[in-house]
Amino acid sequence: MSGNPVMKIRNLEVGYYSENGFNIIIHDLNLDVNEGRILGVAGESGSGKSTLAQAIYRSLKYPGEIRSGEIIFRGKDLLKMETQELRKMRAIDISFVPQAAMNALNPVKKILYQFYDVLIAHGKDPEENMERIRESVRMVRLDESILYNFPHELSGGMKQRTVIAMSLLLSPKLVILDEPTTGLDVLVEHDILKDIREIQRKTNITMIFITHDLSILYEMSDDIAMLYAGEIVEKGSHSQFLKNPMHPYTYLLTKSIPRIGVKRENIVKLKGNPTNYDPSNRGCQFITRCPYSESFCSESHPDLIESDEDDHLYRCMNFPAWRKKATI
């Protein structure tokens, strides 16, 4: 079950400078990304999903800063890499599909020449690689004629597909998708996600899929990492999450998804608002919202504990006791 990790993130600490000093957004994060699988990273707004994506890709800009940690990708620490070396890796070894694909394309250039730019940037002859461009456009189920269009002539969904095709053009080993379907209607969203899933199955690319939408998360992911207040609260496979959640947060979120056959009164509402990582809190970060918390929860900070299940980690000191209290 446990795969071969393509990327290992160790003790990652990321934050933003503000008027009140440095605010930690991601605290001491450890994560393995297994090869050939889709790792879904989920969390509420402000939990640090996008910050994590940008930190992994090293595209985080001031006032954001990576304080410490290691991101080992193919034996090398991405955080220690020179910018030139990093640039050459991008789109070839590791690629990124941005959140705002609506504006990700250069408005004054035809799509084809934007594909050319990517090839030129990596020292490849555009004319010779024409077939490759066509192939990647077909792969996202777009007509080849869009290559001769300007971005404003395409619909939102087509632009999103174009961006995916561009990010996958040079067949990277790892792709980070940061909420790639933001701003699209559900039908288009569903189609695109299905295609991403299919491409992944066919090419066996490793993907990190970032989302706040739980139904998408469960639809897309092989493995799941749940973020709360800048920490991973639970990590495991898709089925482990559904069958045997070990952190109250995951459990409550899963129960909050409306389903056919479940009465509205029985759908759980998670009370309170998401918080950022609070360094002054000695105890569990989730304590303010946890309905099952005990007095010892506020006394020390829980570590990520390995369960007896394979590759299933959780950050709760009250497990499995809380499960007995969970009635729904």
């Binding site: 890709y57 595209s59 640039r87 050459k88 890796m89 991008r90 789109a91 070839i92 690629s95 990124f96 941005p98 705002a100 609506m102 504006n103 990700a104 394309l105 250069n106 408005p107 004054v108 250039k109 730019d117 990517v118 030129i120 940037a121 990596h122 300007f150 404003h152 002539e153 961006v163 561009m166 990010s167």
Partner: protein
Amino acid sequence: MKIPVRYIINKIFLFIVVLFGAITLNFVLPRLIPGNPAETIYQDVVKASGGAVNPVYLKQLEAEYGLSHAPLYVQYLTYLSDLFHGNLGVSITYYPVPVSTILAQALPWTLFLVITSISISFFIGNRMGRYGGINRNTWKDLTVDIFSMFMASFPAFVMAFIILDIFAVNGKLFPLGGAYSSSINAGFTIPFIISVIYHAFLPVLTIVLTSLGGWTLGMRNNIIPNLNSDFINYSENLGMKSYQIKSIAYRNAILPNLTGFSMSIGLSMSGVIIEESIFSYPGVGMYMITAIDNLDYPLMQGIFLMVIIAVLVGNFIVDLLYGFLDPRIRQESG
């Protein structure tokens, strides 16, 4: 590339409508001034001679300057038909030389001066702005900023005097005035061209220096948001080289400056008036000052018309250019 026919037709139509409006304004405005030039001159002559003037002289003056008391619409039609025949009236100062002859002589020099200097300053200014914007918040950017703000707010005529004083009066490196050396025959010969460049150097330098700042600041302010845009971030994410990223940002940032380019051609036409008279450059501006001094209404009107047409043609050309550079514009109107 497909030629956006409808876009071009739209622009030509707009050009004709605006030109017609401008011509009409040029007709109406002088007629809103109380009295007429003949009367003004007549009053001056009467005052100077102590009243001993034959009133017929006023009629003569009016006839000479083509002034009539016919109904306004008749005057307007006459004006339009004269205009289409290239008849802009007769200059009072240079009587009996027709205004069109004076303009034909002066206009090429002004156009040469304006187009050369605006093109140079547009090119250098945009490059400087790009340099400042790309190196934002460094001493390089600060230097560019301070220099361009200083230059942009420096009065052009003061600059003209300073440059004339340093390089021509004291330095004796460049001539004090004229468009070419009087000892050389006009024509497309190498000594003539060299002489023209030599004479135009100081006026061009003045205009370039004083108009540079606007382009620089404009470019810098356009390129900074472009450098933070989603498509630049994505280009970086795809591992594009730094020159590729800069050129993407530059191409997107230059669009607003191009609109400014067309407007500045027109504005400079009126702006060079003072510079031309300081450098005694035989362009439209020098004649303009003379016309104002001598209440030469036909000449003034002719020059105004030229300035208007220059602005319109400049706008028209850039509209067309814009259509080619920005595909979004091309489609919205086409």
